[in-house]
Subunit: 349 residues, 2 copies
């Protein structure tokens, strides 16, 4: 598929998701204007109409709600009834980003100051909580799309379950930072929950709103679950080797920040005793300098960590495609879903 | 009504709410055991069976879900179908407590270390988020109580709206700390949202699950809205004069902590220029010592802040009782609701 065809179909859907989110926000009677100013900042809604391009960039790629809408389109022939759930998912995702930035002390989000940097930790916690509440209000708007009430409850339950799993993944992630013996398998469980469950919920809810065929719902769920893991493992590889091969920049932040991402855990698990002792000593340091990063890269090369990481990403990606095939659905929206999956895994940036 | 009759009726309901919460928790497949250990700590579920009294104390009075159950009983003759919503409300309330303790740096909650004190700020944020997700899962269990799906959606929406308002109230509360010119009226708006909306949602959801009569639902909503404000204003009075008159202890923590509660704002608004300048100077200090507290108490006395606070609490309390009367419902559960309201306002501790 040509990129232009992909864009021609997805751009209006992304715009419709943004419009739905704005409509939900506009319905609220502000009690604390500051909360809404921060929500507007998070989504780029504070930017003037002239800055539409920048607003789109600040608003993010909206991959998850786009996937939900595409699944609804592929299964039911119309993405529009799913828009309130897509808006709810994107709000939920952004609430987790606002809280994650507090926990990680990340100073920037989409080229703007993170919420806690500009308004403080307490208000960042509050606005995250409020945005999750707004997400829960958003999904009840499915009723107005003509979705039967029992399906609305099921969609709300799937979204809440995904949020709970995301939180559990985040709890594990923080615990893992303080542990030396995290296995690659434990790490995959963690990212499947922290990063994967919202992607899984996107496809699941898109399907269940559009069909009663449980096999189809299960196949889309399995597709997105595997895709989520493949995506995160691929992201880990790019965090170490991506920019270097593509842009020639120095070894990337993930090593400098001592992130114990998948390739590093492979090295911890596979390295010969001497290399493992070196790794342990390096990761006990406060920070890694260029020489230390070079040493880690050498060890990663000796255990074929890049190949192993690619292999795991590829395995999950193939599992995802097999599940997508099992849905039995063939149409233009399904082609777009396939293209989106390919983009998420084959990307080099 | 004799206290023993009140206890005989409410104790089994509080126990049923706790059992429902435990059942919801038991249904989850733990991914991150730490999250569940912290949830168990918050509700006292980590205590052994022998420590049932302590567990009840740690678990809290459960005023909000109790009110919901009593309204369901008064309106529909059976509180049990409302139990999933009552459990959801109590989980939601506790998620806000966990996050509030982070924001206020409160070290204790119900005589135990606050979550953030024991497990750190990041995990306290995570577990609060996860507990809110669990609350959203809990309310979908209403379907299993035989509640029609459209009522489940309406109850979920009411709970989410209450949560959003609670967050907005908390945003205002934090903003007010840094402001010198907060009026008593602004303060009442803030507490009506921060403290009142979950009490309001309790009565509203209890009613809407039990009847289609919108006038009855509206009357219970109005009852709880006014009760919530009366309760908080009364709490503010107790925070300054309560313990002193009852126990003879020194002037209480609310003045020492420079909390700008309702009586203090009345003083700021009403004091003569000289007294207002004194107040302003005192509240610009880092902390208030005994002499400063005595000076504030003198100013509060000169503007009749205690009487004015009582008057506002009484006005809202009477409005609450009038709304309760408008429901037209007369039965034992309604008597218990009346008794509970009276206890919340007439208490001296």
């Amino acid at each position: 598929m040509a990129p232009s065809a992909y864009d021609a179909i997805t751009a209006p859907i992304v715009a419709a998701i943004d419009a739905e989110m704005r409509a939900i926000r506009a319905e609220q009677q502000p009690v604390a204007p500051l909360l809404w100013a921060i929500v507007d900042h998070q989504f780029g809604w504070d930017l003037p109409a002239e800055a539409a391009d920048e607003a789109r960039r600040v608003g993010g790629k909206k991959i998850r709600p786009l996937l939900m809408a595409l699944v609804a389109q592929a299964v039911g022939g119309d993405y529009r009834p799913a828009l309130p759930a897509a808006a709810a998912l994107e709000m939920l995702h952004n609430f987790t980003l606002i809280h994650d930035d507090v926990m990680d002390r990340s100073v920037e989000r989409r080229h703007r100051p993170a919420v806690w940097m500009r308004w403080g930790t307490a208000q960042a916690i509050n606005v995250g909580d409020g945005l999750y509440a707004l997400s829960n209000i958003a999904i009840t708007r499915l009723l107005r799309s003509g979705v039967p009430a029992h399906k609305v409850v099921r969609a709300a339950e799937a979204l809440s379950q995904a949020c709970l799993w995301t939180c559990e993944g985040q709890v594990l992630d923080i615990e893992f930072e303080a542990r030396e013996d995290v296995t690659p398998g434990e790490y995959l469980t963690m990212i499947a929950h922290k990063s994967g469950t919202l992607i899984e919920a996107a496809a699941r809810i898109g399907a269940l709103l559009s069909t009663d065929d449980e096999a189809v719902i299960a196949a889309y769920t399995e597709f997105a679950r595997s895709l989520g893991v493949a995506f995160q493992v691929r992201d880990d590889a790019l965090g170490i080797w991506g920019q270097e091969t593509l842009t020639g920049k120095s070894a990337t932040n993930d090593l400098r920040d001592k992130k114990k991402s998948y390739p590093v855990l492979v090295a911890f698990a596979r390295a010969a005793p001497h290399d493992r002792a070196t790794l342990r000593a390096l990761y006990a340091r406060e920070a890694l300098d260029d020489a230390a990063i070079a040493a880690v890269l050498d060890i990663l090369a000796r255990v074929d960590a890049a190949d192993e990481t690619d292999r795991v990403a590829q395995t999950h990606y193939e599992r995802a495609l097999a599940a997508l095939d099992r849905t039995g659905i063939r149409n233009e929206a399904q082609d777009i879903i396939h293209h989106l999956a390919q983009f998420l895994i084959r990307r080099t940036y």
